[in-house]
């Protein structure tokens, strides 16, 4: 399941970051994610997984290192530039959905960056965007819930809405932070099948996870972080519970 080779989606070298200037949370993390690759990040809580995702998304600026995302060098001339934001979709751990809006409105927010402000405030999104949002919802198997409020949905359905919203951005890279952690095993497999299908179209994924079986089954490559350091990188299929125990001990 190795991703196709080409210009990398992410190329991070020696990334150092500290929130308070003293204790680094990331200590020289380097990795390369190819386009169309499902790249898994493993590590215990507090190992820097979420922080690294936020660095790639451009929400945090590291103190040292170099980072290239979708061909844009973010660390040029020593100062950090903004990410090509709209081409990077971020699915946070709690999904970041607006619970009191409908499923359709949540998915359409994925097109906010490409919609004029005034019409968007009245939810007057262009017709092609509405068509596309409906297509994504159909693909996710929740087309019939388009007008339902998000707070009425189950965990698995919400996950699908978050993925549909991410796809609405027409991203080349999707960052997902333990986004299947709260799902039952069956729903998790369904969602990960969708992830693989999207990746086969050339979209790269950087996913944090605690589950070695999931990583081995659905990932292309895996990296292990511990206390902000990269301790191991390997093809994802080699990841096992024993390996996790050994590296995380």
């Amino acid at each position: 399941m190795e991703g196709k080779v080409g210009r990398p989606a992410i190329e991070a070298r020696d990334i150092w970051l500290s929130y308070d200037g003293n204790r680094p949370v990331l200590k020289g993390v380097s990795l390369r994610v190819e386009r169309g690759q499902v790249f898994m990040v493993l590590g215990p809580s507090g190992s820097g997984k979420t922080t690294f995702l936020k660095v790639v998304k451009g929400l945090l600026s590291p103190q040292r290192g170099s980072l290239s995302v979708l061909g844009a060098d973010l660390s040029r001339n020593g100062s950090w530039k903004r990410c090509p934001g709209q081409r990077i979709a971020h699915i946070p751990q709690n999904l970041g959905l607006v619970r009191s809006l409908s499923v359709m409105d949540n998915v359409l927010t994925g097109a906010l960056g490409r919609t004029a402000t005034l019409p968007s405030l009245f939810k007057a999104f262009p017709h092609p965007y509405r068509m596309r949002a409906r297509e994504f919802l159909e693909t996710m198997g929740i087309g019939h819930k388009a007008e339902e409020k998000v707070y009425r949905l189950s965990g698995g359905e919400r996950q699908r809405v978050a993925i549909a919203r991410a796809l609405m951005q027409e991203p080349e890279l999707i960052l997902a932070d333990e986004f299947v952690a709260q799902l039952d095993p069956l729903r998790t497999l369904e969602i990960m099948d969708i992830v693989r299908e999207i990746a086969s179209r050339g979209v790269a994924f950087l996913i944090t996870s605690h589950e070695p079986e999931l990583v081995a089954q659905y990932g292309d490559r895996a990296v292990f972080l511990r206390e902000g350091q990269k301790v191991h990188e390997c093809p994802a299929r080699e990841v096992s519970l024993d390996m996790v125990k050994e590296l995380m001990a």
């Binding site: 970041g96 607006v98 809006l101 906010l112 960056g113 402000t117």
Partner: protein
Amino acid sequence: MRKLISRLPYILVGLAALLAMGNIGLLDPGRLARGAANTAVFASSLFPPNTGVIAILAGAMAETLQMALVGTVIGFILALPLALVGTRTLFSPWITSPVRLLLGLVRTIPSLLWALVFVVALGLGPAAGSLGIAFYTFGYLGKLYYEAFEGVDREVLEAVKGVGGNRLQLMRFALLPEGANAWVSWGQEASASTCWATSRCSSTRA
């Protein structure tokens, strides 16, 4: 002895309360008896009710409710946008601090004083009372609203920012819908409490 010391604060508070009651006359049996008799006279004078004033009372009550409605609606309309501008998760302190200061100043002045200010501007009448209520409502709803907006989950804000949403879109697609419960329920609360405030400001009708 230790028990007595631990209970000393309660004993002292109890004694102070008794002393205060004595000073204001609540322990004077003669006075209390006269009070009970006066209350009985007052209660008996309520019967039979004077139906001749019902029409006047109904008119005054309708006007009071109209003043409360107008005051609440104007206060709400003023408070909502200003509270959004006072939200620290959306704007820098350079913008939010003056807005919060303004809301704080408006809030410190009671509705009755605002009504007096508007009596000077508009003359006696329900309009002055309504505006007095509107300004007070604006001050306290504004504070409740920006606090509610700041309580909106950061992940939701980051998600809308992350898709390229600007500040107006953040208000429309994150703060207003996620804070809806708070701003609707506080609005209802305001309309209820302004009915009470209106009864005080009704003096501007005179």
